[in-house]
């Protein structure tokens, strides 16, 4: 047998064969996630990460996507805009084809323009600022904008609670201001009279002067924006100071940490949110139950919204049959009536979702269904 070149190559291939990867194990599909894992918003970052990990685990347990497993690539943005752009470029450099924001508006707005420019699908899980999806057609959002949620609160207070005199206590950032703007824009439509409006900074935990002012205003209901770490102390101090008017909060209070801080003062507080704890829809029930058994802690809005965003990305990858960014983008944009942990969603031309708003009430130290605001005209997301 003479050693011709083809035979040599064959022999080399045969020797090399045991070291080559088996054909069955296709490389994982990697999904990027950035969330505030350290810094002031670390609590929400932890929830976002857990929601995303659960979504990936559920998809992989069901066989993955297109015969490949999903893998989460996680970066910490500290909820800071200046961290967002370097980490977005890092994601792009490592060849990721789809990225999720499990973070606040400031870093998400900054990163959105980077991903749009690179034409990589980018889904904001719960950041509410309207400019995020305006970055372009590769940017999507799986929660309400602040304005839409504020409008839902106004309709709830005006029609279901049937109260008229409202005092607003607004968190002075993107989140709080967009909620208040939406609320004010339709307050007249539901006969609401805004008695007074106070604002506070995200670092503030002492609300004595606002409590004294609310007592003087004597409103029939309070509409309060904020996060659990501002809302918990605020609600505690309002009740401690003798304010008895009903309190309507926002999805920032949608976590059991809020109840852990405010305790008895949390009883009866109502919130507008995306997650219905008493939902009977299978994806919602499965999310709520598996989250609780996996992490030994009850699910919250941030976890549910991030779970939704990752689920949407996985479904788009499956429908596209490839991880080609342009095809994945088209698959997300084409989603209609897709059932996820936060309800039944559909995307509009701006990449915003249409869905109903949930009103939950805290009773017996737990969130329960109180009402659903399903008004496609009022809750229509922005289209441009």
């Amino acid at each position: 047998m003479s050693l011709t070149l083809p035979r040599l190559l064959l022999a080399a291939a045969a020797l090399g064969a045991p070291f080559a990867p088996p054909a069955a194990a296709a490389p994982n599909i990697r999904i990027g996630l950035h969330a505030p894992l350290t810094g002031f918003a670390a609590a929400d970052g932890k929830s976002a990460l857990q929601g995303a990990e659960l979504a990936v685990a559920q998809v992989n347990a069901a066989g993955g996507v297109n015969g490949r497993k999903l893998e989460l690539v996680v970066e910490d943005d500290q909820a800071r805009a200046d961290q967002a752009v370097p980490l977005a470029n890092k994601f792009l450099g490592s060849g990721l084809k789809v990225v999720i924001s499990g973070s606040y508006s400031a870093p998400t707005r900054a990163a959105a323009t980077v991903f749009q420019k690179a034409r990589i699908p980018y889904i904001s899980a719960y950041a509410l600022h309207p400019d995020i999806t305006r970055a372009g057609n590769y940017v999507f959002r799986t929660s309400f904008t602040g304005e839409v949620q504020g409008k839902a609160a106004a309709k709830f207070i005006g029609t279901i609670l049937a109260k008229k005199k409202v005092t607003l206590i607004t968190l002075n950032n993107d989140f709080g201001q967009s909620l208040a703007a939406g609320f004010r824009s339709v307050a007249g439509q539901f006969g609401l009279q805004i008695v007074n409006e106070y604002s506070y900074a995200i670092g503030d935990r002492q609300f004595g002067s606002i409590v004294a002012s609310v007592k003087r205003d004597d409103p029939a209901v309070l509409y309060i924006s904020g996060y659990f770490f501002t809302g918990g102390p605020l609600v505690t101090q309002l009740r401690g100071g003798g304010v008895t008017a009903p309190i309507v909060g926002t999805e920032g209070f949608d976590t059991y940490e809020f109840i852990a801080i405010a305790k008895d003062a949390a009883e009866g507080v109502m919130i507008t949110t995306s997650l219905d704890r008493d939902s009977t829809s299978p994806p919602a029930r499965r999310f709520i139950d598996e989250y609780e058994s996996r992490y030994r802690t009850p699910a919250n809005m941030v976890a549910a919204s991030t779970h939704t965003a990752v689920t949407v990305a996985a479904e788009a990858l499956r429908r596209a049959g490839t991880d080609d960014p342009a095809k994945v983008r088209s698959a997300i944009a084409a989603m209609r009536d897709f059932d996820v942990s936060t309800g039944r969603i559909a995307f509009n031309e701006l990449g915003e979702i249409r869905k109903a708003a949930q009103i939950q009430i805290i009773r017996g130290a737990a969130f329960h269904h109180y009402a659903t605001i399903d008004d496609p005209v009022l809750l229509a997301p922005p289209t441009r």
Partner: protein, 288 residues
């Protein structure tokens, strides 16, 4: 009555500032170091207090434990962080101090979790009293009383005891004090011990007032304390007290009447800027 209530709210805030800023001003007076890391001593005191109170059901135990643990951390920061770099320019110590704040804040997050802690129902000073149309909580009363008693005790200590005289001598001239037999090292440890124990007690009180103890609760207070000690006239104890109370009252009115324009912290710093334009040496500082 509404305006009186706002005044009371402001005085309560001012008393919490005073308890914390006193430590910063004492350290500045003694070592010319801007002790920003005092905020982490305050936060640790709050955590020790809430965990003790929730575990043993006793607020008294919480205050004692907070004062002890915080009282140990302050001298430890002095020994491990400041003492090795005392011969360097003051900004070196300031940078080290900021480093301690950053490291400790995420340290608290790792040890105690990101969500924060609050007092259980049974242990909190939640009782309230209706006084002439106002509702005053026991916590507010406790903050004012504690601040006044502790600051009065400190002033007695500084003026009427041997250790206090030694401390004041060291502040004005360490070399001269040492030559008269004052143990300068001992005075410095004592200063950090007293300042830190007060900060620990303040941590528990602020935790009760806020209803939440969290890893970053010291960060706003730390830079506000710097503003207060500048406002009071650097190193001036009486000036610090006056500046703390004034700042609390300005913030109380400002958060209601200026909140559309400026937030609470911005109001505080605007106030400081305005005062310093008029009195560059601080409220009670002496013109040099």
């Amino acid at each position: 009555m509404y305006y009186v209530e706002l005044l009371l709210v402001g005085l309560v805030w001012g008393c919490t500032y005073a308890l914390i800023a006193l430590g910063v001003t004492l350290v500045y007076g003694l070592l010319r170091i801007l002790h920003v890391a005092h905020a982490t001593v305050f936060t640790l005191g709050a955590y020790v207090g809430v965990l003790t109170a929730n575990h043993f059901g006793s607020l008294a135990a919480a205050f004692v434990a907070a004062a002890l643990v915080a009282g140990a951390l302050g001298p430890a920061i002095y020994r491990l962080v400041y003492q090795p770099i005392l011969d360097r320019p003051p900004y070196v110590a300031l940078i080290a101090s900021i480093g301690v704040v950053v490291a400790m804040e995420d340290g608290f997050r790792l040890v105690f979790g990101p969500y924060g802690e609050s007092f259980s129902r049974g242990t909190a000073l939640t009782a309230t009293y209706a006084v002439g149309g106002m509702i005053v909580s026991l916590v507010q009363v406790c903050i004012v009383v504690t601040a006044l008693v502790l600051l009065a005790a400190f002033s007695l200590f500084a003026t009427r005891t041997r250790a206090g005289v030694a401390w004041r001598a060291t502040v004005s001239d360490p070399a001269m004090a040492a030559s008269f037999g004052v143990g300068v090292r001992g005075v410095r440890y004592l200063c950090f011990l007293i300042a830190s124990a007060l900060a620990g007690i303040a941590g528990v009180l602020v935790g009760l007032l806020n209803g939440l103890i969290e890893p970053g609760m010291g960060s706003v207070i730390s830079y506000k304390c710097l503003a207060i000690i500048v406002l009071g006239g650097l190193g001036n104890v009486a000036g610090t007290l006056v500046a703390s109370l004034m700042l609390g009252v300005v913030e109380s009115y400002g958060t209601v009447f200026l909140d559309n324009v400026l937030d609470r912290d911005a109001i505080a710093f605007l106030f400081v800027i305005v005062v310093l334009l008029v009195r560059p040496q601080g409220l009670l500082g002496q013109r040099r």
